[in-house]
């Protein structure tokens, strides 16, 4: 993205650790799940930042920390210049109007006891009751807005008195989108909005989301585990692994020129719906599973599974190397100095020196 723009959302060194405690009254922290372990990125108005990664890499936690559903352990989240982590209740509520979420599971994210109308109207009702709207809405205005939103997302407004369970998955996701749009937000955090949907519905929702972005000038943070989907909808992509961002790049660059060994493996593992290409592709199959994020690391987070690991990586956490305007990567392979010849002993000695 062009650098002269002011970012809408700045995330700096965000950490989200969930304490593991034992004992019932006198609770003692015995460890922490490091779901998000120090990530930084900027989001510019009008763009779509895709976050991709495997389950447990902390991508859902990231958006929940940004929207302050979880209170971050440390770091800052600046939205329009306001630090949400330190913001008081009222400032937070005001900011929340501009930050809305779309959830993964269209079956679980809608209250089954509420009609579609009251689901879509809920954000408006809440903000109206709290007198946080620019101008208060009457119930008729809310009603009209609900109908307008339903039509915009492609739902028949005659169905507004029905309950969510009477709709199919795709229609429910449309209800969720209408609810997120109700307050005219600036940024929408979409947590895997299409991964629970059928293929034919998935493309409908993706198209709807891009149309809405054009129409209302929305900014998205879009989470998915499907690389093809991410690449299709995003302008920039951040690849996450074990609570860390390992690579940020423009969407086109990512497929054409992936840098981090994890990104390369991820891309090669994702199937392409074409038998001829599939047959000719070479797969890099990673061994092992994603390790548990409950221990502190002093080496590269991907070290255990990396096909190109060097002794140096085991005890040095890689910083983000800026490759060019469009790509940043956290991997020692792209350091100025060549670490491939360093032996384990040398690396460890170096690490010990840095620590002291």
């Amino acid at each position: 993205m062009s650098t002269n723009k002011i970012p809408l959302l700045e995330v700096k060194d965000l950490k989200q650790h969930f304490p593991i405690t034992s004992g019932s009254i006198l609770q003692k922290q015995v460890g922490a799940i490091r779901a998000v372990d120090g990530i930084s990125f900027d989001v510019y108005p009008g763009e779509t930042l895709g976050i991709v990664g495997e389950s447990g890499c902390g991508k859902s936690t990231t958006v929940r920390s940004i929207s302050q559903l979880y209170k971050p352990t440390s770091g800052t989240v600046k939205f329009n210049g306001v630090d949400l982590v330190k913001a008081d209740h009222r400032t937070m509520l005001k900011a929340r109007r501009d930050i809305q979420m779309i959830f993964q599971d269209p079956y679980a994210s809608l209250d089954p006891r509420m009609t579609v109308r009251s689901i879509i109207a809920e954000p408006m009702v809440i903000y109206n009751n709290r007198k946080l709207l620019e101008k208060p809405m009457s119930s008729i205005e809310i009603e009209r807005r609900v109908e307008e939103l339903m039509e915009r997302v492609g739902l028949n407004k005659a169905f507004k008195n029905r309950y969510p369970h009477e709709f199919s998955g795709g229609q429910r996701q449309r209800i969720g989108i209408a609810r997120a749009l109700a307050l005219n937000p600036k940024i929408i955090l979409a947590d895997e909005p299409v991964s629970a949907l059928d293929v034919s519905i998935q493309s409908q929702i993706l198209n709807l989301l891009s149309d809405l972005q054009k129409e209302f000038g929305l900014t998205y943070i879009f989470i998915a585990h499907d690389l093809a989907v991410i690449q299709h909808i995003s302008t920039r992509v951040a690849v996450m692994y074990l609570g860390k961002i390992v690579e940020v790049s423009e969407a086109v660059q990512l497929y054409d020129n992936p840098l981090h060994p994890y990104t390369i493996a991820l891309l090669s593992a994702a199937p392409i719906p074409d038998p001829q290409i599939e047959r000719e592709r070479k797969r890099i199959i990673l061994t092992g599973d994603v390790p548990s994020p409950d221990k502190e690391r002093n080496g590269c987070y991907f070290y255990d599974r990396c096909p190109k690991k060097m002794p140096w990586c085991s005890c040095h956490i890689p910083p983000m190397f800026k490759m060019n305007d469009k790509q940043e990567v956290a991997c020692w392979l792209y350091d100025q100095t060549d670490h491939s010849k360093t032996t384990m002993e040398e690396a460890q000695a170096d690490a010990a020196k840095v620590q002291n």
Binding site: G169, D198, H225, I285
Partner: protein, 348 residues
Amino acid sequence: MSMKPDAKVVLEVKDLKTYFKTDAGVVKAVDGVSFSVREGETIGIVGESGSGKSVTNLSVMRLIPSPPGKIVGGEVLFEGKDILKLTEKQMRSYRGNKISMIFQDPMTSLNPFLKISTQMIETIQLHEKDVSKQEALERSIEMLKLVGIPSAEKRIQSYPHQFSGGMRQRVMIAMALSCNAEVLVADEPTTALDVTIQAQILELIQKLSAQMGTAVILITHDLGVVAGMCDQVCVMYAGRIVEKASTDELYARPSHPYTEGLIKSVPRMDTSKKGDRLFSIEGQPPNVIDLPPCCPFHPRCNRAMDVCRSVYPPVKNIGNGHEVACWLHVEEQERAQALANDKQEEKA
């Protein structure tokens, strides 16, 4: 990956019909499905949720919860023998032994209270009475090694919750293959797994199938998985197979508007450009309760004709073993005839 036209047919499903009786009406979950699998071949069944792909395979395994479900017609021939006519006791010796199944969620199909070793030994001894416990254990360890579980001798004494999702799925595959099953039914085996793990599991299934000559029925909604894995593909929609062809043929020449739309609506990493609008099939998948006798896809089809709205299309072979159920591939004359017949029936 190559077609094996000479290999013998292991499993043949003919005009299978499974209906469910619900409060709201009869659900024709599977309505006249036919396909066959050859030795060493992998056949993919693709469809959206509710298209009846899982019910098809549960019917083959005779695991339909009854009531409300019931297999109301058709044949499932395993090596020429109709297993729908077997007693439950006879069927048990087929299940696991000749036809094995792996499920989407491996946790639900493993007993959380028993060690992996106990469960695997039990499975083997259930099907081969004369195997001793020691032999069974050795074979289990061997199978676990085969599916790539490190230090299998130690891990076999663990409980299911001590394994990660991918490892559990490997254990399931090891169990399914430990009895030298001839057909492996894999019901969305990788949907709950991550991409990198999915790649591992799919490669494993492919390798084992080639090694042991096992026929694989792979149920999935992911067209990418099918493209990489299968020799043949059946596309299901609303309880019926709408198109059936070899994988290459299907992707090169999708002939049912649904298949075509499905392939086009998946974003592709390699070709699609940012900013392109994705092709999409409008509308929602139908609710299969009390479907009228029309083509169930017609409300979403942009090439629907009058005849589509009233009569279900016949299955036509359009060459290369490519079968499709769509009026577009039927002669004009026949279409008119069908429409006329339907009108007459309506009057009567």
